[in-house]
Symmetry: C2
Subunit: 333 residues, 2 copies
């Protein structure tokens, strides 16, 4: 059955039941929710902590291709990219609004799969889908807004908090998501385990919510999530903080499946591939060491915040030569 057969309001009722059922599993997670899906606006009891809000739109054939991603994975990913923005601020996600625009020929099962993916991921962080709306469009358009907050009295992580002398660090491994996309687009065949790992990195990224919390706790001030790519996102920090950055390619924690399968593309995938949704942050070295000892994922120092070339990222190889991005990848100047 598709949307035009079921009807818009009936579809909303169906999705509301799905969301309600998911809340029943853990009803105490959101005691402040007053009014969820089904009124003109969602409502919840406020609190005096710092409030965070982020919004992102995914458009079919621009941000995703239904040939490559299942509806459930799409739901997961659309939620993940927004949760990741809250993670990058050191916040806790609380509520999500989902605005869907869909062709009327969309199968109801596809929409419920999409919601299943969103609910699965948001549920892991006690985040409730509290509202949104549904309308028609010639292609699939998903907008998610996530509202979050900080723990009491805690500061937020910003792009503008980097200071000269800070070390630059990154959580996890890089390049796997871009490698996964490349496999899907170019129909590259690897051994099935490698393929699975890389595709999953692209299709079901994990927002670093707990890690963001630990960064705040340990005194980190500046962070961003890697969505545009390591160099581009580090550039955003440099620009906002009015500092320069120097990183060394030999220190980049490239995902081992990328290193072993992508030869000379490896560096480009790790530096500019994007969509890793790892946290890139800067802090004095003692703070970073402190973070390292607390988080359960790898944390790697990849370079320094400097006072040369404010707003720019300088990329060096292990011999001390500077590299630049050409259409063929990262090459010597």
């Amino acid at each position: 059955m598709n949307i035009s057969e079921l009807g818009e309001f009936e579809l909303i009722d169906l999705l509301r039941v799905m969301v309600d059922n998911s809340m029943d599993i853990n009803p105490s997670s959101q005691p402040e929710l007053i009014l969820g899906i089904g009124d003109d606006a969602a409502a919840w009891q406020g609190d005096p902590s710092m409030q965070l809000a982020t919004s992102d739109t995914l458009v079919q054939d621009i941000h995703f291709i239904l040939e490559f991603i299942s509806w459930e994975e799409l739901g997961w990913k659309a939620m993940a990219v927004n949760l990741s923005d809250i993670a990058a601020m050191g916040g806790l996600p609380r509520y999500a609004l989902v605005s869907l625009s869909l062709p009327t020929s969309t199968e109801i099962d596809s929409v419920t799969d999409l919601y299943r993916g969103m609910i699965e991921l948001s549920g892991r962080f006690d985040t409730i889908i509290a509202g949104g709306n549904i309308s028609t469009a010639p292609q699939v358009i998903i907008n998610i807004t996530v509202l979050g907050n900080t723990e009491k009295e805690k500061h937020i992580l910003t792009r503008s908090g980097a200071r000269i002398g800070d070390k630059i660090a990154v959580t996890g491994h890089l390049g796997a998501s871009a490698a996964g996309l490349k496999i899907l687009k170019e129909k590259i065949r690897l051994n099935s385990e490698s393929e699975k790992i890389l595709k999953q990195a692209f299709l079901r990224p994990n927002p670093r919510i707990q890690e963001g919390q630990i960064l705040v706790e340990k005194g980190v001030r500046s962070a961003i999530d890697i969505s545009d790519g390591l160099i581009a996102d580090l550039g955003h920090i440099c620009k906002a903080s009015k500092v320069g950055a120097r990183i060394n390619t030999s220190r980049i924690p490239v995902h081992p499946e990328v290193t072993s399968n992508f030869g000379e593309d490896t560096l480009a995938l790790a530096l500019s591939g994007g969509e890793d949704y790892e946290l890139l942050f800067t802090a004095p070295i003692e703070i970073i060491n402190n973070v390292k000892h607390t988080v359960s994922c790898p944390v790697t120092i990849i370079g320094d915040i400097t006072d040369d070339f404010p707003g720019e990222v300088v990329v060096m190889d292990d011999k001390g030569y500077r590299l630049s991005l050409k259409s063929s990848g990262w090459k010597h100047f």
Copy 2:
């Protein structure tokens, strides 16, 4: 100059300056804003009032046609439909997130005009554009999320608050917006003053924020804004409140420009046209009379909440005959 020539990040910088300048005019309006456009998320100081959040997506050629609406009017309207949802809850809008998806060929002047329209309307209600994002798409897609709150200790207006015996009332006049759309689509010519009034009703609706506040103050419990049309939206109240409604067509406050120009289409425009963004609410008669004496716009009682046909709206003419919606308009059963 278009977006591909200027660049996405430069466009964001330009829009940030526009928003900052608009805040400079009245910097005290948002003392709690900590971080606006330009980081991973917007941030502001929370408070213990009830929080409200609503989100809506407008898609080119589905929800608007650029032939009929200027970019500035589009910005106004996209903001208005969301502010109206906050009004319908009896809340005060505070922050907006704007997610734009645009063809790269879009002129920068069009985008700044769009923002000018959004800023103009949101500024009237001390609402700040605190974040969002921009991406590419084959057509124009505008998602706005508005966050609001209630005044201290105040309740919210809900769809589920209608009680048997309540009177049903509506602010302002109905049908003008749908008539404006009809004029634009069918290229109908009226005298220029009439045309202007009706087109403006469609292109630049006014969210009833102050009126929503007064409804709360006077003790109204149930309201909705008229976006789908009077009958459809009253149906939403009936369904959510598990009550019936009976209205009388002779009492409907049809906009005088509609009555005088649209002959037999008048009733259909007023009952099912939609997009009036007036507030439809229910309450005991004393409360409605109290509201009437306080608000500066007309308030008209159009019917009663009943216990017949729960979830349904019964439409009667002045002779007591029941009407139903046919493809040719509202006719006797």
